[in-house]
């Protein structure tokens, strides 16, 4: 103990800690700027994020088409007229082929649908008649059959 600057031969541990310099003079330190200090403090997260952001920025810059910045080349008058004529002939050809491909509209069954719909129903006798006709026709057609007259397979007589 003692007052300020009273020297004692043996240094206590407390004194050692007190007198230890804060900045080590032996360590070689480069002059640091703000960036390095940042990277040192938050190492991996920040660099990844930065890398991702720069990547996105680069991709956008590659893909973007800035219409306002494009300098349009002026076309000469005759070239313009030629192109207009070319396009109009192409359109004519296309419109011709397209009109041919239009589907044929369905034929109309009647010009007076109200009359047909309001008319009497198909009489049941007619339906019965048709089913009778169908049955008779079926029996008539069943008479059409293969009439086997000869043998299909014959033996050749070998003398």
């Amino acid at each position: 103990m003692g007052c300020c600057y009273s020297s004692e031969s043996e240094t206590t541990e407390q004194d050692v800690n007190e007198r230890k310099p804060l900045i080590d003079p032996n360590q070689d330190r480069k002059p640091t700027n703000g960036m390095e200090r940042n990277t040192d403090s938050l190492p991996s997260n920040r660099t990844d994020e930065q890398a991702q952001l720069t990547g996105i920025l680069q991709r956008t810059a590659l893909n973007i088409i800035d219409v306002s910045a494009v300098d349009s080349q002026g076309m000469e008058q005759h070239e313009y007229m030629d192109r207009a004529r070319q396009y109009s002939t192409k359109l004519e050809v296309l419109s011709r082929t397209l009109s041919q491909k239009k589907p044929v509209p369905l034929p109309s069954l009647t010009s007076q649908p109200h009359q047909v719909l309001a008319a009497d129903l198909v009489p049941f006798s007619d339906v019965q008649q048709v089913s009778k006709i169908a049955a008779y026709a079926y029996s008539a057609i069943s008479q059409i059959k293969v009439d086997a007259k000869e043998e299909l397979v014959v033996q050749f007589a070998i003398p």
């Binding site: 069954l109 009647t110 010009s111 007076q112 009359q115 047909v116 008319a119 009497d120 198909v122 007619d126 339906v127 008649q129 048709v130 089913s131 006709i133 169908a134 049955a135 008779y136 026709a137 079926y138 008539a140 057609i141 008479q143 059409i144 059959k145 009439d147």
Partner: protein, 91 residues
């Protein structure tokens, strides 16, 4: 062999109100026709009958398709393997 069918179609046409009759097989092949119905109607008639038959699950009940217009009715019915269409004027 088709004589019976041909004869029967002629007899059917004798009915004054019937102006056309047509017989087709399941694929629309024309087996016999008279009057206003002809070869070109075979496909449509067979398909109409087949589609109408698919409306009901009951295989034994064959429906009769009626096309009504101001120039008569066309009734289509399937029996067995053949489809018959009759064009009949409204009486």
């Amino acid at each position: 062999m088709e004589g019976a069918l041909e004869q029967y179609l002629d007899d059917t046409m004798k009915n004054p109100s019937i102006v056309g009759v047509l017989c087709t097989d399941a694929q629309g092949h024309n087996l016999g026709c008279r009057g206003s119905l002809s070869d070109e109607h075979g496909g449509v008639v067979s398909v109409l009958a087949r589609q109408a038959a698919s409306l009901t699950k009951d295989q034994t009940d064959s429906p009769t398709v009626c096309l009504e217009s101001d120039c008569g009715n066309i009734l289509v019915r399937t029996h067995g393997t053949i489809t018959v269409a009759v064009h009949k004027m409204a009486s």
